[in-house]
């Protein structure tokens, strides 16, 4: 095998393919193969073992989990280099000709949660239009297209929007008070779980496909509001208008500065054992995090990646082949 | 090889049931039937004789438009049933075939039970009001085709599991059960033993009292025994057509004579 073999997250895929393409153009190494298939599948194949018939790099839209590291180790994949490449901004957008929105997490909680507080009681969500949620909103039917439970974005959406809203409306405390569990931690977990349950009456639709599917759904239902990646939105500004969150307009800058809250880090993982064996592997990793690629003015940022302010640290840890766990 | 006709010579002929004039049949380029003119009288048995491959089956199939199912087959000329052109565009071949039934040369039982084979026609034509009437029709048809004794205990067995001669009689029973006005029988006794043959001939004679029967046969004796009219075909031509006794005793065409005396085949 001559080329670097990469698999994993479909969120990272566009960035990885931009890098792979440039890498192939500028180096004598063949263009790496970047497969998609999701973070989980990528990491699983990454952890299948060491050797030519396993992949060298796993892209992931989340951090690798402890349990996965253990599984990896069982298969002999011990030294893993973690590379954080930047952040993926998550935005809310609806049809370009529709109403404009500026949300707070509370609005989303009230719109989509399975149960909300009404007069101090927890009841099945009665809200039908956005005006029911917030008097400042137009009386537009609530119809949200949120990522399905397989997407990492869903987790971020739950954590940073719904859960926030749950706490802000006081529903969280109410639920916690009646939550079952032996320990405080267990009770908190149960309450969180109850908080993030979304209504199932069709107003919140899980999207298992991709953002293009969400866009298509908004196309066919103009009332719909969808969750998108920042990069996707930026390529489709002719069809979508973005909503602000707590008054902040999402952009690479506002996310990099931390003002806009809804984002998640993106990573790739390199199998150290393959460095020096698979030609071009290290060069690829270094090239990826080079300033001219992953920096705020590089092509990745241009495409919509939120550059990591601490990119230099990453560069040096790639250069040193710093192994996961050892530098923490 | 040839016995004198025993019956049928004295029957009075009725007016004609089917008239065919100037019939030509082509299979693609093959000219199988050439300018045939013939009258099939009502309440008469007409025999078609002639050497193998001379066009008997072909002509027979014209009479109830079974030729329609052969893509390459083209029929020209006029064939009238009760004075009505059967090749008229308005004619429904289904209704025609209900009136002009057919027993094929190769037995072709349906892959169904013996009972269902015989009941098939009665069912689609609605001849029975209830199960017991249908049972009666089936039994009667099988009896007339001389098959009842052999199959009465296994009416539910598949018709395809019968012996060759049994299948042939099954097909006869199947055709008789629908009570057609004209029955076309293509060598109905070819696989039958003499006794069964005699029974089928009896059936034909019985049918004649009310209907017309056209029978193709290779047995000159049989033709002489059962038919009142005989048509002799040769190489697609209708060479001679007339009263059976005349044909057999005093043929006007020498080919006819040669054939019935066993000189051409």
């Amino acid at each position: 095998r001559d080329q670097v073999q990469i698999a994993g997250s479909s969120t990272v895929l566009p960035y990885a393919s931009i890098v792979a393409e440039a890498f192939g153009e500028n180096f004598d190494f063949p263009t790496p193969v970047v497969e998609s298939g999701g973070s989980s599948a990528g990491l699983k194949r990454f952890c299948d073992g060491v050797g030519e018939n396993t992949i060298d790099v796993a892209n992931a839209s989340r951090k690798v989990k402890e349990k996965e590291i253990k599984k990896c180790a069982e298969n002999g994949v011990t030294d893993i280099i973690e590379v954080k490449i930047g952040y993926d901004g998550i935005v809310f957008a609806n049809d370009i000709n529709g109403n404009g929105f500026s949300y707070t997490p509370t609005d989303w909680f009230l719109a989509l949660s399975d149960k909300v507080m009404v007069d101090g009681e927890l009841v099945a969500n009665p809200n039908k239009t956005w005006a029911d949620v917030n008097v400042n909103f137009p009386a537009q039917d609530i119809q949200a297209f949120v990522p399905g439970t397989k997407h990492g974005t869903r987790e971020v959406f739950e954590d940073k929007v719904i859960l926030e809203g749950c706490e802000a409306t006081g529903a969280f405390e109410h639920i916690l008070a009646s939550a079952e569990g032996d320990t405080a931690k267990a009770r908190k977990k149960a309450a969180e779980k109850a908080c993030i349950a979304l209504r199932t009456d069709g107003r919140s639709v899980d999207i298992d496909g991709d953002y293009t599917e969400t866009l298509a759904r908004i196309d066919s239902n103009k009332d719909g509001i969808g969750v998108f990646g920042l990069a996707f939105y930026e390529n489709n500004t002719d069809k979508l208008q973005v909503a602000t969150m707590s008054g902040i307009v999402p952009s690479t800058e506002s996310i990099a500065s931390g003002e806009y809250p809804v984002s998640r880090p993106l990573f790739f993982y390199v199998k150290k054992a393959h460095i020096g064996v698979i030609p071009g592997l290290k060069e690829y990793a270094e090239f990826f995090v080079a300033e001219e690629i992953a920096g705020p003015d590089g092509p990745l940022a241009e495409y919509g990646l939120v550059a990591d302010p601490e990119l230099e640290n990453t560069q040096s840890s790639v250069a040193d082949e710093a192994i996961l766990g050892s530098n923490m | 090889m040839f016995d004198a006709p025993t019956i049928g010579s004295t029957v009075e002929l009725q007016d004609s049931k089917i008239t065919a004039s100037g019939v030509h049949v082509f299979y693609g380029d093959t000219h199988a039937i050439k300018d045939v003119n013939v009258n099939i009288a009502a309440k008469t048995v007409t025999a078609f004789i002639g050497p193998s491959g001379c066009g008997k089956s072909t002509f027979l199939r014209c009479l109830n438009r079974m030729n329609d199912t052969i893509d390459t087959c083209r029929v020209e000329g006029n064939i009238h049933l009760d004075g009505e052109d059967i090749y008229d565009r308005r004619v429904d071949p289904v209704q025609l075939r209900a009136k002009v039934g057919m027993v094929f040369q190769k037995p072709n039982p349906f892959p169904k039970s013996i009972y269902d084979n015989v009941a098939y026609g009665a069912r689609i034509h609605g001849l029975a009001r209830n199960k017991s009437e249908l049972d009666a029709i089936v039994e009667k048809a099988l009896r007339r085709a001389a098959l009842w004794g052999e199959v009465k205990d296994r009416l539910g067995a598949p018709g395809t599991g019968l012996s060759g001669g049994q299948q042939q009689r099954l097909c006869i029973a199947r055709a008789v059960a629908t009570e057609p006005e004209v029955l076309l029988m293509d060598e109905p006794c070819s696989a039958l033993d003499p006794i069964a043959t005699a029974q089928v001939e009896e059936l034909i004679d019985d049918l004649r009292t009310r209907f017309s029967v056209v029978i193709v046969t290779h047995s000159m004796q049989q033709a002489a025994r059962v038919s009142q009219k005989t048509a002799f075909f040769h190489l697609g031509h209708l060479v001679e057509f007339g009263d059976t006794p005349t044909i057999f005793t005093n043929p006007s065409d020498e080919r006819t004579e040669s054939y019935i005396t066993g000189r051409i085949g």
Binding site: V50, S61, R62, T149, T200, S220 | H125
Partner: protein
């Protein structure tokens, strides 16, 4: 290259064997083929097969074993200190192989002489650069141990290839000679050749069994893992499907099964009547012209990628149905909440399945002998009566096969369901509700972002295996139906 040559030589031998075997047999009968037990070409085929099959077997086995054996003997040359804890011997060996390959390429290109390649020393040449020039990229500089291992790897593989060539040729010639001697007129060549062919047929049939075993095995262990992590009672008897990143998900197959059955039924409800009527029309009513263009056109429907159908469902059929049955729709009812529903997916899937039913059924109906139809038509039956009562029963096994194929496809479809039916797992009798199926859940749990060792991911395997068992039941039923109602003509 030598492998290509070897195969070419083998093929030549095979061709030669065929000719000689044939000729020898003929000669034993003094040139009169009629005195032979079998037709002359059977003798030829016997020699050809006896030459080819054993030698090819040896070749394949050798090719599989040689790298393993050479790897093992060369790997002794790698000192253990060269294999640090973080890599494996296998990786170092792949480096060795790459260097060896590089040397092969260099020699083949004439950049290096054979002698040079064997006497090279890392201290004296920048091997990485030299190999780079001929287009062989190396991951790092070549260490001396690796180079010497690579050199002996080359030596051994050359020797091995040589040996392989000899042995394979020997086996081939032995088979050749032996079977050639056999080729006398009383030899029962046809029986031998036919037995050979029969074993090939059996081999082909057992491949299906092997595939099944493979499928079951590849899912079984992860399924067991899943049931180690998740309560089987919830899986089989729960009523909620709600995977969750936080764990403790409810993962019951029942709502998914319901969705699968519901959507498949609707799809079959469209595909079976339409397909069957189309088949009947094509084979019984349409002229040969209509048939010869309509049938292939319909078959295109089976080849359109499902993503197109998915988009069709999402963008065309869904909104159309919503426009009819949705709130404020043309019919004034509000049964449908969104564009995605069981009905949307089912209808579109049904369209995709039309050719599965129509084409195969058409072939089978066409194979029913004309004499069956004649028999019925001769009794005054209409064409439709003939078809319904004579032709279709006779064609039943093929039609059931076609429907089964369509059902299978419906059960296994993902894209249309994802885009057309939505992704909500629930029990509902309303065809305008969104639902989801087992297959889509398998795909999405496998390609999701969750922890790959969590029950949320592993459930995919349990779902797969359960589906396998369920469809097995379905197929047993189908077999039973065919056995019971089949009408064998002639």
């Amino acid at each position: 290259m030598p492998l290509t040559w070897l195969v070419l030589i083998l093929l030549t031998l095979v061709g030669l064997g065929f000719i000689l075997g044939r000729r020898r047999a003929l000669r034993s009968a003094n040139g009169d083929a009629r005195l032979l037990h079998s037709r002359p070409h059977f003798y030829g085929a016997n020699v050809a097969l006896s030459t080819l099959v054993p030698s090819l077997g040896v070749l394949v086995i050798w090719l599989l074993l040689q790298p393993v054996l050479i790897d093992r003997s060369v790997s002794h040359m790698i000192p253990p200190e060269m294999v640090p804890a973080d890599t494996t011997l296998g990786l170092v060996m792949s480096d060795v192989r790459r260097v060896a390959e590089g040397l092969d390429v260099a020699v083949a290109r004439g950049v290096m002489s054979e002698r040079d390649s064997n006497t090279l020393r890392t201290e004296l040449t920048d091997l990485r650069a030299r190999l780079g020039e001929v287009g062989v990229a190396l991951g790092q500089d070549v260490r001396p141990e690796v180079l010497s291992a690579a050199q002996s790897y080359r030596r051994l593989s050359h020797a091995g290839t040589m040996g392989m060539t000899l042995v394979v040729l020997a086996v081939a010639i032995a088979g050749f000679g032996f079977s050639l001697i056999q080729s006398r007129k009383e030899f029962r060549a046809r029986n031998v050749v036919e037995r050979g062919i029969l074993s090939l047929l059996i081999l082909a049939a057992s491949l299906a069994i092997l595939t099944t075993v493979g499928i079951v095995l590849s899912m079984l262990f992860e399924t067991i893992n899943f049931f180690g992590l998740h309560d089987w009672r919830d899986f089989f008897f729960g009523n909620t499907w709600a995977p969750n990143f936080r764990g403790e998900s409810e993962l019951s197959i029942l709502p998914l099964l319901w969705g699968t059955i519901y959507i498949s039924l609707i799809a079959l409800f469209v595909a079976v009547p339409v397909g069957l009527f189309a088949a009947i029309y094509l084979s019984e009513y349409a002229g040969p012209k209509t048939r010869s263009f309509a049938k292939p056109l319909l078959e295109i429907l089976a080849g359109i990628p499902t993503i197109v159908y998915g988009l069709f469902a999402l963008l065309t059929v869904g909104p159309m149905l919503a426009g009819l049955f949705g709130q404020g729709g043309a019919l004034g009812v509000s049964w449908m909440a969104g564009a995605t529903s069981v009905l949307t997916a089912g209808l579109v899937m049904g369209i995709m399945l039309i050719p599965f039913v129509s084409s195969l059924s058409d072939d089978i109906i066409n194979a029913v002998p004309q004499s069956m139809r004649d028999g019925s038509l001769g009794l005054g039956a209409t064409q439709s009566e003939t078809i319904r009562q004579v032709v279709l029963p006779a064609a039943l096994p093929g039609i059931v096969g076609a429907v089964l194929l369509a059902t299978s496809r419906a059960v296994g479809e993902t894209m249309i369901v994802v885009m057309g039916a939505g992704a909500i797992a629930k029990f509902s009798a309303n065809p305008f509700d969104s639902m989801t199926t087992i297959t889509t859940r398998i795909v999405s749990q496998l390609t999701g972002d969750g922890d790959f060792s969590s029950p949320e991911t592993l459930v995919a395997f349990a779902l797969g295996l359960s589906l396998f068992v369920l469809t097995l039941g379905l197929n047993v039923l189908a077999l039973y139906i065919v056995r019971t109602y089949r009408e064998q003509y002639e």
